[in-house]
Amino acid sequence: MSDRIDSDAGSDGATPGSGRNLPPLRLHVPEPKFRPGDTADFSDFDIPPAGAQARPDEAAQPGEMRDLAYGLVRVLDQDGIAVGPWNPNLPAETLLKMLRAMALTRAFDARMFRAQRQGKTSFYMKSTGEEAVSIGAALALASDDMCFPSYRQQGILIARGWPIIDMMNQIYSNKGDRLKGRQLPIMYSAREAGFFSISGNLTTQYPQAVGWAMASAARGDTRIAATWCGEGSTAEGDFHSACTFASVYRAPVIMNVVNNQWAISSFSGFAGAEATTFAARAIGYGIAGLRVDGNDALAVYAATRWAADRARANAGPTLIEHFTYRVEGHSTSDDPSAYRSADEASHWPLGDPIARLKKHCIGLGIWDEERHAAMDRELAEMVRDAAREAEKNGILGHGLHHPMESMFEDVFEEMPWHLREQQQAMLDEWKAAGL
């Protein structure tokens, strides 16, 4: 047998193109600024002042607002004062609700992370430092707008008042889990909360959100859709399919890119951040693009509100980049000290979203340190009590799961013969084995 071609090109003496008097080509492979052992230094990071960005009309043409895809919408300044045209001027009640939901999300994450470490479940993912992204947005949407989240927006469920014990049952994969123990922990689904079933496969939710929004528009509904993915996930084809559909049909959808700068061990440069911003992806599609300080809950709220009003006015979709930082490891399976500087998180200049909102509330005179500390204690207890309750329904691997035969349910609406047969065979075999 002979092949008409071998693989000889390009690496031995006979380099193709040699003989031409041209400089050799070079491959650029991105490299993050800091690696383990380096001291993170963000002094050259130019923080745009709060309040400096213009706020266009909700019906503005995408071409008139391109600057916003490269800037950074910020509302809270260094002193925690809300400034500028994007200030949403929220009532005290909303601010405190927002603060509480963020603090609860953090307490929940702490508890569930610990539960995984104690062997009570297989896996967990925190959203530390990114609480504003999901909670600011959730509170700016109507409660019946449909969310298509990734795995790091547990804050949406918490902001929508979903019972945390239900989330814990899912995490423990126990007999109280409405999803029947079928999904990896944190892959929630809560239709009643307008929260789509989370997929383990990245960015699949993006075109789905656009489809939901198109359906809503086609039916003359008033509800809009919102979706989230990480900056790393914008590389997937689904992201680009979603943008194209959203643009073509002017779908009433908000597409959020949570730029926490890391995708497991890969920094945002591997998703294109060395070349441009993620919000600027919108420009090529003719979509409105906003780049927002993701650690500023008020900026997230304001941008989401702007995009929601725009969608409701049939003025089209918006792509929002939330610039933030992934403070913790990717998941319980990850140790970030192997690939990034240990002090990046503490040096990150946009600060902690909870601390910033707290400062704002204290400055307004509607909050104080004592009340905050009391709230943290109360939430820690609440989460602990809920976890104990949930654990009564079982923890992973300790027998209190849904019945074995339930494995065959919901593959189809009606169980076909082959699944019935497999179900029966399984039960017979286990019985025969005395189990």
Binding site: R4, D8, M187, N201, Q422
Partner: protein, 366 residues
């Protein structure tokens, strides 16, 4: 069209040269390795021998892969040859097709087999058919490495066994090792092979063979004879099965993790089974299968993948077509159920000792 390739020699008919690797060196040193180390060693050996070999994928570069299979390679061979990629599996495989067209020999990693689906078009319509549609003018010599299979509580998106999707496609080879020794030798053979190869790594046995008893402490590869791995170059040829256990009572066809589960179950039962570790599904070692089934007259097929249209169905057909008059009992299959991989019921789903034992008893009763 005359001369589609980038180099003029490309149009010269050539003897089949698998790769630009230098001649095999003499193997001297043997080391105890787990499967990750063996895979890492195969990549290291091939990168050292063949400058066209490049390794790419999500998190494979600086970090060395989420399972550490590519650890140290970027430091050793540089970022031009070992690099992280954007998170787009379709992009990774498409780029690997292009690099192959240039003349490189890419070894892309898909982080989990469950994430290979976005790459299907590039694999099925492109890599698998490039040689055919260009009548050999272009080839796609990539080896796609990807951890697969269950047993680590990964839920439905970190547990699947999609090998049957690829064995169904003409033009790709499918390889699944069951031991560190084979993982290295087969990976080297796959990289040297000029056709696109899917190399599924059973992640449950990365760190140790698995006997099927999830409730007993995990074993390591230490002391296992198949974990004695030469540090240098060697090949385990594609298309050759391994007799994991010789026997007379029945033939068990299996691969990957299930080889160890079967070995242990057979030992517990005291049955004189012949266990064939298929190692390569396409091209299949049909002679080894025929030889064994004609000898034993009984055949069990075990795989973790779902049942309907699973690779076991193909094996049943082959055995039936070739060994019908030697069979003394109906062929049995033990497989994953036709459901997604459930998280909490992982061990009820996994085709473990209980089900294998039942099937063997049934086959031997007839």
């Amino acid at each position: 069209m005359e001369g589609g390739g980038p180099v003029s020699e490309a149009n010269e008919p050539k003897a089949k040269v698998a790769s630009k690797a230098t001649e095999p060196e003499v193997v001297t040193d043997i080391q105890q390795m787990n499967m990750i180390q063996a895979i890492n060693s195969a990549l290291d050996v091939m990168m050292g021998r063949d400058p066209d070999v490049v390794v790419m994928g999500e998190d494979v570069g600086y970090f060395g892969g989420v399972f550490r299979a590519t650890a140290g390679l970027q430091q050793k061979y540089g970022k031009n040859r070992v690099f992280d990629t954007p998170i787009t599996e379709c992009g990774i495989i498409g780029v690997a097709v292009g690099m192959g067209a240039y003349g490189l020999r890419p070894v892309p990693e898909i982080q989990f087999a469950d994430y290979i689906y976005p790459a299907l078009d590039q694999l099925v319509s492109e890599a698998a058919r490039l040689r055919y549609r260009s009548a050999g003018e272009f080839i796609s010599p990539m080896t796609v490495r990807s951890p697969f299979g269950g047993g680590i509580f990964g839920g439905q998106t970190h547990s699947q066994s999609p090998e049957g999707i690829f064995t169904h496609v003409s033009g790709v080879k499918t390889v699944i090792p069951a031991t560190p020794y084979d993982a290295k030798g087969l990976l080297i053979a796959a990289i040297e092979d000029n056709d696109p190869t899917i190399f599924f790594e059973p992640k449950r046995i990365y760190n140790g063979p698995f006997d099927g008893h999830y409730d007993t402490p995990a074993k390591s590869w230490a002391g296992h004879d198949q974990a004695q791995v030469p540090t240098g170059y060697y090949r385990v040829p594609l298309g050759e099965a391994r007799v994991a256990r010789a026997g007379q009572a029945l033939t068990v066809l299996c691969y990957g993790t299930m080889v160890h589960v079967v070995e242990n179950t057979v030992a517990e039962m005291g049955v004189d089974a012949e266990i064939l570790d298929l190692r390569t599904l396409v091209p299949l070692d049909i002679e080894a299968i025929e030889r064994s089934v004609r000898k034993t007259g009984r055949c069990l097929i075990v795989h973790e993948a779902t049942r309907t249209s699973g690779f076991g169905a193909e094996l049943v057909a082959q055995v039936q077509e070739r060994c019908f008059y030697h069979l003394e009992a109906p062929i049995e299959r033990v497989t994953g159920f036709d459901t997604p991989y459930p998280h909490s019921l992982e061990w009820a789903y996994f085709p473990g000792p209980v089900r294998i034992r039942e099937a063997i008893n049934k086959i031997l009763k007839d």
